[in-house]
Symmetry: C3
Subunit: 643 residues, 3 copies
């Protein structure tokens, strides 16, 4: 697959007279793709049932005539006012019980059947009209599911659908579920919380004190399933009319629905990469780290999502659907990227296997919510800073090889359901599954390793020298079996296998590893300012389990409490949340054959099937492979194809 570039474009925002020139400039820039349509419902269906696609026909024609391929988005993230007027109870409700009103976007509850019907109608109309359009080369469903925290909705529709979902989870006689089974599974005896019927079950918000974690967790699973069903409804319609691949554009650090399940219904995964906004807004890192990378973005955040969404994409197909081109409008602080970073980010995506990188957006809009969001062009159509960097990538690509997938030496399992479990029960302030997995990812990257992220249903670990499965709170037995049989080194813990599927602590105590008596005897969360020193270097931070049983101790605290313990052939359980040093030490101890190399601060390495890349995320020149790599510099070595 050829590496390509694209851009997001909104013909409805501009005078029709400008379209042809825009298209010509896009083509001249070397772009292949142009994504359109995803916010234009009101223009397509100004009045219920009365469609106006003529303008869109002309827009697609104009773009296609310039040689561009269109990615056509369904507009269901922005229902017009008339839809809301018709279905006033379709609005989502937040955890405080407040209706989240009309006036921006994503103002719908995934559980509202009336809204779903409206979506089916508009998607059907679009698919029928454009399913065989030769310029429409791909589709996008909706836009950024969960953006603005829109997956968890506490509406009446959600409550009704949740009860129905629970009846399915605990099937009983006839159409009703087995409420006794639910009570037993959730341990509702605890505080006399047993229900007499499913009709009594409410949503897990606004309770006097914390709700049963089984209840909260079930609601998160349900909410995730609602997204999957919502997306599938659109996919089914599009497929009936079109052979073009279908994508969705996911966001960064969004974990409240199972992307693997949504991804299973799609052809391509894509994500919207805003390195500077994400650093400020959701990286959870220290102020010192934010200062160091304020204009470059976190050096691992993009790569992590690239690797994650490669796993989400069918057969590893994935794109960056929206690439930050300059300052954004939505973070607490919105600096400009360091010169060169737009090119670096683009190349980093290609290095991780992206087929396409599309810039968001073509021209900065002078009106409405994102008027402070940069584009490739300024509002006056002059070239913005990113335009030149995109042109440079086009130039770079002339002699670059195609996408060459290759298995990485290291695998990290990522389980959205585990993230939900941690969210329900973090145990310590600000602890999260995403944070734990990301810390392991960063440690691997500091060792220069390339990484594959694996979905939780992976059972074949062949070819991996190291498999990391930290924090996966529920582990099915067959996963344990598969991991126990893996050839590479396996790392579990903390919290791996700590719960059964309904959020109960199993007996024997976790991790209950096949053939091992290792047990988590006691669990602590610890103050951030009281890390525990690991003998020989590194620290345990935030979370620490006390262990009994098990085999050889690989790491221990200065006080001789075990930190990493063997619990099987090649399997090591780590009982604490380590800092980078502790994680790196453990990796080196248990997987000595890995080709590791401590990266200079802010330098990252990534190997594809036929290339090795180095990226300089710092603001200084750094010597890499005997060359002086400038700030935002990209070094690419082509190597013979290897598996």
């Amino acid at each position: 697959m050829k590496r390509t570039l694209g851009v997001c474009y909104y013909p409805e925002h501009w005078p029709e007279a400008q379209w042809a020139e825009d298209a010509a400039r896009m083509a001249a820039l070397g772009l292949t793709w142009v994504r359109i349509g995803e916010f234009a419902w009101k223009r397509m269906e100004p009045v219920e049932g009365s469609y106006d696609f003529d303008w869109l026909d002309r827009a697609i024609d104009t773009l296609g005539a310039a040689g561009l391929k269109v990615v056509l988005g369904t507009p269901t993230a922005t229902p017009p006012a008339w839809v809301v007027a018709k279905h006033p109870d379709m609005l989502p409700v937040d955890a405080d019980g407040r209706v989240r009103g009309y006036g921006s976007r994503r103002h719908y509850c995934f559980s509202h059947p009336g809204y779903l019907a409206e979506c089916r109608k508009i998607v059907t109309a679009m698919a029928a009209r454009y399913g065989s359009n030769r310029h429409v080369a791909a589709w996008q469903t909706d836009n950024e599911y969960s953006c603005h925290d829109t997956v968890l909705s506490y509406s009446q529709s959600a409550a009704a659908a949740f009860r129905d979902w629970l009846r399915q989870q605990f099937p009983g006689q006839g159409n009703d579920g087995d409420i006794d089974a639910l009570n037993a599974a959730w341990g509702n005896v605890f505080w006399s919380m047993d229900y007499d019927s499913f009709d009594q079950i409410g949503l897990p918000n606004l309770t006097v004190t914390e709700v049963n974690p089984a209840h909260a967790h079930a609601f998160r699973r349900f909410s995730s399933d609602q997204v999957v069903a919502f997306n599938r409804a659109q996919v089914d319609i599009i497929r009936a009319h079109s052979d073009a691949p279908i994508a969705h554009n996911y966001m960064g650090r969004v974990t409240d629905f199972d992307h693997f399940k949504v991804g299973a219904d799609l052809d391509i995964a894509s994500w919207d990469s805003y390195p500077l906004g994400f650093l400020e807004d959701r990286s959870g890192t220290s102020d010192a780290h934010k200062r160091a990378y304020a204009r470059q973005g976190d050096p691992d955040f993009q790569a992590f999502h690239h690797d994650l969404y490669r796993a989400v994409g069918k057969d590893g197909r994935w794109w960056v659907m929206e690439q930050q081109p300059g300052p954004v409008n939505w973070a607490p602080y919105n600096p400009a990227p360091l010169p060169g970073m737009v090119r670096l980010w683009t190349w980093e995506a290609f290095a991780h296997g992206a087929e396409a990188v599309c810039y968001f957006r073509w021209r900065q809009a002078p009106f409405a919510q994102e008027q402070m969001h940069a584009g490739l062009l300024r509002p006056d159509s002059a070239e913005a800073e990113a335009f030149e960097e995109a042109a440079q990538v086009t130039n770079d690509l002339a002699d670059a090889p195609h996408v060459a997938p290759v298995q990485a030496p290291v695998a990290i399992m990522f389980d959205y359901d585990a993230d939900a479990m941690w969210a329900v029960q973090p145990h310590g302030a600000s602890l999260s599954y995403f944070g734990l997995v990301f810390d392991w990812y960063r440690a691997c990257r500091k060792l220069g390793l390339s990484i594959d992220i694996l979905p939780p249903d992976t059972r074949d670990f062949d070819g991996y020298a190291l498999v990391l499965v930290p924090g996966m709170m529920h582990m099915p037995d067959d996963l344990k079996t598969a991991l126990a049989a893996a050839h590479g080194a396996v790392v579990l813990g903390p919290r791996s296998a700590a719960r059964d599927t309904h959020f109960n602590i199993p007996t024997p105590l976790p991790p209950a590893w096949p053939g091992s008596d290792l047990a988590v005897s006691r669990v602590q969360s610890i103050r951030p300012d009281m890390p525990i020193d690991v003998a020989g270097g590194g620290q345990v931070i935030g979370y620490f389990e006390e262990l009994t049983g098990g085999g050889d101790v690989v790491l221990q605290t200065e006080g001789r409490a075990p930190v990493a313990v063997r619990c099987g052939d090649g399997v090591t359980y780590m009982s604490g949340w380590g800092d980078d040093t502790a994680h790196m030490r453990l990796i080196q101890a248990i997987a000595p054959d890995l080709d590791v190399e401590i990266m200079p601060e802010g330098i990252r390495r990534r190997a594809t099937g036929n290339e090795v890349f180095w990226f300089n995320y710092t603001t200084q020149d750094v010597e890499v492979e005997g060359e002086k790599l400038p700030p935002a510099g990209v070094l690419r070595h082509v190597r013979p194809a290897m598996s």
Copy 2:
């Protein structure tokens, strides 16, 4: 009274087949008490009016047969779903107007008459069945009144009851109250806030800006009275059927109802002592202090509540009903106790006069909200760390004397109504009455003093060398008279006698001490980073009053403003909130005959009638009385009985 141990147990959580073995292990551990039943309403009354006590009969029989005494709890903190379905408006409402829903516990408004009737029914059924059961040796009403901030409810039921309560406070013609009297008492003329009738009076939440403090304060008094009435309703029923003593288990740092008034209806006060959770969650101390005591708890917090609840208990009878045995689940960070602390906490309770200390809980539950809360046993029934420490206490107790009450040399008055007044009008950010009294308590403890806490209706101060009455905003005249006549040194202020009973500043200006012209002329709250130096050592922090009149100046600022001034024979008024040094200096200056001894950092001393105890709250060995006291160490010297 013999010192005894006990445990909290939930037979309904475990297979019946396990009960006998559990009971045997409890007895073997040396436990005397087992508290059961307080969350089991749904098991006792699965359907309205249809009781099932058979299982509870068997559980009590099993425990009793093992030699254990049962404390039987009424289950009114956890009304089942059918109760809420029958009385949907029984749910409490928070200050933001949000209904606090079903799904956890304490989901009831104290003012709802329908819910009170349901409580009477279940308590009557339990009392009738178990009132003469030979194994039921004590009762507990409900569970942790006010936990999860459940005393102040802003429901319609509360509003109606509040109006009726006000009619009683300001009685008028016939059944109605005298609204003019209320308007005058509250100063409603201030912003044209006069009411035409009691029907116009709302709850003091969600006003545009601050509400009249008299209004807010009346609501707090009312809310406290609702708890008293709710508890009394249960007590009256139990007493009609049982001679066993009745207790309630209070919480730490809960001040929003008058425990003395609730306690007056009960036989035994008890409280739930979670030293590590309280340190992180509600101690209000600095991060450095939290780090120093993260695994031991604040060295004065438990002792303060021991002394407080000894005063709340009838004739000084009090227990620890729930003692933290390991990590809890509910604080921001949940570390494990330092080895030895569970024993130390237990002995500290005995040193302060506890009859019994019960561990919470027997076995860690693998399900529901508290699955991360340690017990004496792990979920797999293996012994957890605290088990061995409890066994050690059993061993220690073999040759220990019985509870020997003795009057302490120092008394501190504690007035829940004053705490309400400070809560309504802190004047400075984060200032509280509890905090002020606790700071005085800590200063006394750093001087090695044992302390009695006195209820606000105390008028006999005989035998106390020092009586501290800081911050008691309303002081009745007869209290002033009694304090003026006390033989020991008396310390007032700041804010003592600052308001009349309806929250008005009296004239002559406070403290209006009999025979003194001392007056608080002006009041300041000061930034935490701008303490005022006291000449000779110590500082005034947070709050400072300027004084006129009065007698000798005992302490003054570096700028020669009076800080502590004589206002009567043996009576000193302190105009500022002092730090420990300032408080200790004042005590030494005005009560020179007290047997004080500066305690080493983190060491605390407590004398009973026939023993002296030292406790090491630090993580280091400390030399005490010529011995090396290890971390978590307890030193006990038996001495001849003395009054």
Copy 3:
């Protein structure tokens, strides 16, 4: 106009027997004015339509007989309970959708027609009775519009009125507006947000993510207009009955309505100056700054408002209607003023042209919300600390000249609409228009300059050596023309002229200065801990624009990016938010003829037509003009009158 003193008094709070003595003491203190009545609606109209003015007649007679002049306030900030009972939907609603209830003050929505009618009735009754009373020498409308954030109300009344207001802004056929024009002006195409009719338009709160800034901004303009209309209704009634001047008492740092528009209907502007409360509560300054000025107040905050309200007052007439006399009750910390500060604050007001300074309040109230707010008298009628300082001012005034207005050398434009625009779109956390303008003001003051603040409709800049127009996001073309023609140096930016009137980015890009190709090419907000160094000294903080075009570069960053650039004859555009040093350097560079003098830390200078004042805001002696000025000291040099 003679400089005079006054006081705020509430005869309804005190026994009638006390009035005459109070009046005599006021007169003896040298006071001229006594403001009364503004919270006494319930006393004037205890029952709907039944007036009781007898007590007020007697109060006015008593005060007048003592030689005092009465400022009579309309009581519409405190509608009595019966008004709310009659109009339950008159209560304001906050942005979270919560009704802001009865029980304090300002509990009305400006858009409620029923409440407006009630106001008209009480004001008519007062005006009819006192319009020709010889002692009523001035009026005050309502009290502190916007205090407690009461301008923006999200009620149903506000929504209906907002839609009507929009119909006026976008007039169409018949009575309805032109919804297409609104959609086009707001760029509603962006996210399919086009409305089909005005009836669909909601208020801009509780949307899923940020609302269209054009929508939010329109709502702020509307809300401001509602205040103007509400105030005008009262003014019209009073004028029909009285020739006395009418004032309103504005607050500090309140920017959510256009004071210039309200002021245009009044005769005198006044404001309520609480230097210590404002420093802690709304200065937005650092802890170090707050510590340095905790007992003095920010050295520029009062002066800024004096200059601002001089511009708001018709013909420059303005007062301080409420002057802090001691600790207040409402800030996080409420220290006492440094001795002398009450006098300093009073003289500073006179130095900036105040006709009168009235202390709030005569006697500290021992009841209700403000019982911790100091007065000139203590609650027991003894003199409080401020009494003596007021007496000293009376003494000072004996030989002081009258108010002598003079044009300052420096002008700063202040535009409430620009503040609304920044509030809607700050772009960086905590950035505000007020903050930017205030930083410029402070820089001028550190240079010893006197300043005039100008309303945004100013077109004549004659006589100003320097005109500062930072951050004025929308600039009408005729303002640009007038500034381009100004004789003095003009400073624009950042963000000046950045938007058209409907919040769109104009093309050509801002500032689109006549005759210049200077353009803001890209905009960044930057972390507070990442300031950008300006070559030669100073820093850019918070906000930074990248420029193209323009003329000479006056300031640039260390990295040679332009910071201040010429864009016309005498016109300079500053692209960043500078620190004091950067601002001071620019002023000195572009206006070299200004008579600047770097003030010692905490010393401020102000010149009137015939005097020069220096004020010592520090806690140290400082040498000024060869004299040692003590803390809180005021130095006044009389000079020959000059223009």
